[in-house]
């Protein structure tokens, strides 16, 4: 490979001088065209996953070396069109427009060209250096459909390469053609899509007006800009507003409004529809010339599967069964590796403790960092299993059916079917649930779904319910816990509606979704899908958690207990050890005394610490809810994770670790608080945000402003609801 390049360079100095050694290639295509498979085939494992700035759409890129060139490949998000409809479409368009990749590979599903080439027409109009990958071309052969690809490529002004993504065929040829088209970029024939006389006249008029009358300079091709304006493309209109002064902007807007009115008058149709018809017309014309036998769209296996899975009576039970299965897989099966990891982290902690000996640094590493970061990383197996499940649902095509089935129910609360899956996951863990919100295209829908997800009682809150319900309601504990879950769901429903009419106004997204043909997912595809999402969780949540864990540790550690305050405990310990040596107490009694002293010292440390002082300081805030400083501290500690509420209360009530599960703990709670306060505390714990990790993820998915809203809104809500419950109950009793 290298030799041939060297030879060529020798022979043509000029060409070498012209040659770019680095080539950027963007991959575009409509959803389900097999775009990602082609991307994976091209780049293999050398991929980076990140987010596009400002949005939650993933940006995947990869690199490869080919014929001495270094190629950077960007997998653009799937888009049906290049209007400003969704974030995906805007990203795809902006990337091509602003980054100007050396080549664009348009992956099309060869079995349905009439529809796939609609996006292609828009790529042609953007004057990109286009190479079309006829993906799944084996289906054409199977069905005996013959396409004159040479003729079609002339009509479209782009080279065509046959590929079969799932079998990794045509990949090298695709690269060859891309390289060739980059080198011959300048002698390419330009293809123009004609919109018919009425539209063409207006396009010319608008172009002329912008260029000659207003003398406006834009970075856009003037014809393209004019078409976009006739399409009433919102993001282009916004951009135009930002680069023109208000007077000119007014002139342009009224000029275009007139054009649109004029077209409507003579044709009786909106320009946006005429433009779409012309594009489809261009595609149909090109296909008619180049295809001998048109593919038939008959009832397929996919339709037969749908007649069962989307059946009016069977659809919902089957969906419920699948969801139940995923729940079992993630939270039952996932429990084993989680426990192994927990044991591993505990072992690591005690190993470090042993090696370092007691001290501040040891406490920071073991209690702060390993306790905190480890506490988040132990969720990784569950997250992986969850993402595998989601990847299978997505890659088979079932995800859109799930949305179809749930749409009617979710419609009742102003959301659509796609919101259901993240809500369900929220019962397990809110962190992956927030991340699953990505499947929603509409920003408002996504934000509402994320904001109400916090009311789906996550697994971390369960220990609190078990402790308090167990302490106060004995036999009825199960029913009481169930009532908390129901209250959470009702809150979610109520706030879905409230947020819709207040902060996220406007109709919910119209529900339009392709039901893709069912496909057998590839093992490799599932694993890649799962891993890239899991890695984001480990990397990003991990770094934030590390910082927070250290802060929490500092709050609970400083100021420290002085030596003089420690003295009585040490004296008692020394006395007990003396007694043991004198054989006046047994080894069992000694270890019991030791653990009591540990617990007592722990309680003292907590009271002296900044967190303890904060608890006392905040007591007036919590008092109207019936909570004392102890519940206040526990709630604050619960910010780190709801599981921590229980362990903190354990520390406060001087319950040593070994006694946590015994009746003693519940007894202490029962003796200190009333059932009303107990229930109220459960409600309070339900309502405020799940944990700091969830907030970190919220921020990454939705930005700082929304994260702060989530934090303050749930804290405020928890406080108000608990206040009402406590005060109202006192009034009536």
């Amino acid at each position: 490979m290298t030799i041939s390049i060297k030879k060529k360079n020798k022979s043509s100095y000029y060409e070498k001088f012209q040659d770019k050694r680095e080539i950027t290639i963007a991959i575009a295509g409509i959803p389900n065209s097999g775009k990602t498979t082609i991307f994976n085939n091209l780049t293999g494992a050398r991929q980076h996953v990140g987010n596009y700035p400002g949005v939650t759409v993933e940006q995947k890129s990869g690199e490869l070396n080919f014929r001495g060139y270094r190629m950077q490949v960007i997998d653009l998000p799937g888009a049906y069109s290049l209007t400003a409809y969704s974030a995906e479409e805007v990203i795809t368009r902006d990337y091509i427009m602003k980054q100007k990749p050396d080549a664009v590979i348009n992956v099309v599903d060869a079995s349905n060209l009439a529809r796939n080439l609609y996006l292609t027409t828009q790529l042609i109009e953007m004057d990109t250096n286009l190479v079309i990958a006829f993906n799944m071309s084996d289906i054409l052969q199977k069905e005996g459909i013959k396409i004159d690809t040479i003729l079609l490529s002339q009509l479209l002004g782009a080279s065509i390469v046959n590929t079969v993504g799932s079998k990794n065929t045509g990949t090298t040829e695709l690269l060859e053609i891309v390289l060739k088209s980059v080198k011959e970029k300048n002698n390419k024939k330009k293809v123009r899509i004609s919109y018919g006389d009425e539209l063409e006249n207006e396009i010319t008029r608008i172009s002329g007006y912008i260029e000659s009358d207003l003398k406006l300079l834009t970075k856009y091709d003037i014809r393209w800009l004019s078409v976009k304006l006739l399409e009433q493309d919102q993001s282009i209109m916004d951009e135009l507003e930002s680069i023109t002064d208000s007077e000119n902007h007014k002139k342009i807007t009224s000029f275009i409004e007139n054009s649109i009115k004029h077209i409507k008058n003579i044709t009786g149709t909106e320009p946006v529809t005429l433009i779409a018809e012309a594009r489809y017309g261009f595609v149909n014309g090109a296909l008619k010339e180049s295809i001998k036998k048109a593919p038939e769209h008959k009832i397929t296996l996919s339709d037969r599967i749908d007649s069962v899975l989307l059946n009016r009576y069977l659809g919902l039970p089957i969906f419920a069964l699948i969801m139940w299965g995923i729940f079992q897989l993630v939270f039952k099966l996932g429990d084993y590796p989680t426990r192994w990891l927990q044991i591993g982290f505990d072992k690591l902690g005690s190993l470090i403790s042993g090696a370092m000996g007691p001290g501040l640094l040891q406490s920071l590493i073991v209690d702060g960092i390993i306790g905190g970061v480890g506490g988040v990383l132990v969720f990784t197996p569950k997250i992986m299993l969850l993402f595998i499940s989601i990847a299978v649902l997505e890659d088979t095509g079932y995800m859109s059916r799930a949305a179809f089935i749930m749409d009617r129910i979710m419609h009742g609360i102003g959301l659509h079917g796609k919101s259901f899956v993240p809500m369900l996951i929220g019962f397990g863990c809110t962190v992956p649930a927030y991340m699953c919100g990505r499947t929603l295209e509409n920003k408002n829908d996504r934000l509402i779904t994320m904001h109400i997800n916090t009311f789906m009682s996550c697994g971390g809150r369960l220990p609190i319910y078990i402790l308090f319900a167990g302490a106060f309601f004995g036999r009825y504990a199960g029913n009481v816990i169930f009532s908390i879950y129901i209250i959470g769901i009702l809150m979610a429903v109520a706030f879905a509606k409230i947020l819709r009419v207040t902060r996220f106004k406007g109709e919910s997204e119209p529900f339009v979704m392709e039901l893709p043909v069912y496909r057998l997912p590839t093992f490799k595809g599932i694993l890649m899908h799962m891993w890239e999402r899991t890695w984001l969780y480990i990397k990003k949540a991990g770094t934030v958690i590390l910082a927070i864990s250290i802060i929490v540790w500092i709050l609970f550690t400083f100021p420290q207990v002085t030596a003089a305050e420690k003295q009585p405990f040490q004296d008692r310990l020394a006395l007990a050890r003396q007694q043991y040596e004198d054989s006046s107490i047994s080894s069992g009694q000694l270890s019991e005394i030791e653990s009591q002293i540990d617990a007592g010292l722990g309680a003292l440390k907590l009271e002296k610490s900044a967190a303890g002082k904060l608890g006392h300081f905040l007591e007036p805030v919590f008092k109207p809810l019936g909570f004392d400083w102890r519940l206040a501290i526990a709630s604050i500690a619960g910010i780190a994770g709801k599981e921590v509420v229980v362990s903190t209360l354990g520390t406060i009530f001087s319950i040593s670790d070994s006694d946590r599960n015994s009746g003693e703990f519940m007894g202490a709670i029962k003796n200190t608080y009333s059932p009303l306060i107990g229930y109220n505390f459960m409600i309070f714990s339900l309502l405020y945000f799940p944990c700091i990790a969830s907030l970190a993820v919220f921020r990454r998915e939705a930005g700082t402003k929304e994260m702060l809203f989530q934090a303050l809104f749930t804290l405020g809500l928890a406080w108000v609801v608990s206040l009402i419950i406590y005060q109202a109950s006192r009034l009536f009793s």
Partner: protein
């Protein structure tokens, strides 16, 4: 190309009034340019033939158009005008 509208004399109905397993011809989409271009990009343009694949009581409707299946919510189904297409 522009004479797409109601060249057919048969009665215009809404997608929400359609019947399962019947073929229809798209007449037009009522609504703003955003909804229109969204539906156009999914293949729903005037004169295109669609088949109502699945109607659920009160829920979304699944149609087949240009060889793909598309789910449309109830709200949108009131915004798509059709005429019945008698299959030959």
């Amino acid at each position: 190309m522009y004479s797409s509208n109601v060249s057919d004399s048969s009665r215009v109905i809404l997608l929400s009034q359609s019947e399962q397993n019947k073929d229809y011809r798209v007449v037009r989409i009522i609504g703003g340019s955003v909804l229109q271009s969204r539906l156009h990009s999914m293949g729903i343009v005037p004169d295109e033939i669609l088949r109502v694949v699945l109607k659920t009581g009160g829920g979304p409707i699944a149609i087949a158009i240009k060889g793909v299946r598309i789910a449309l919510g109830r709200g949108i189904s009131h915004k798509i005008e059709l005429t019945e297409q008698i299959s030959k």
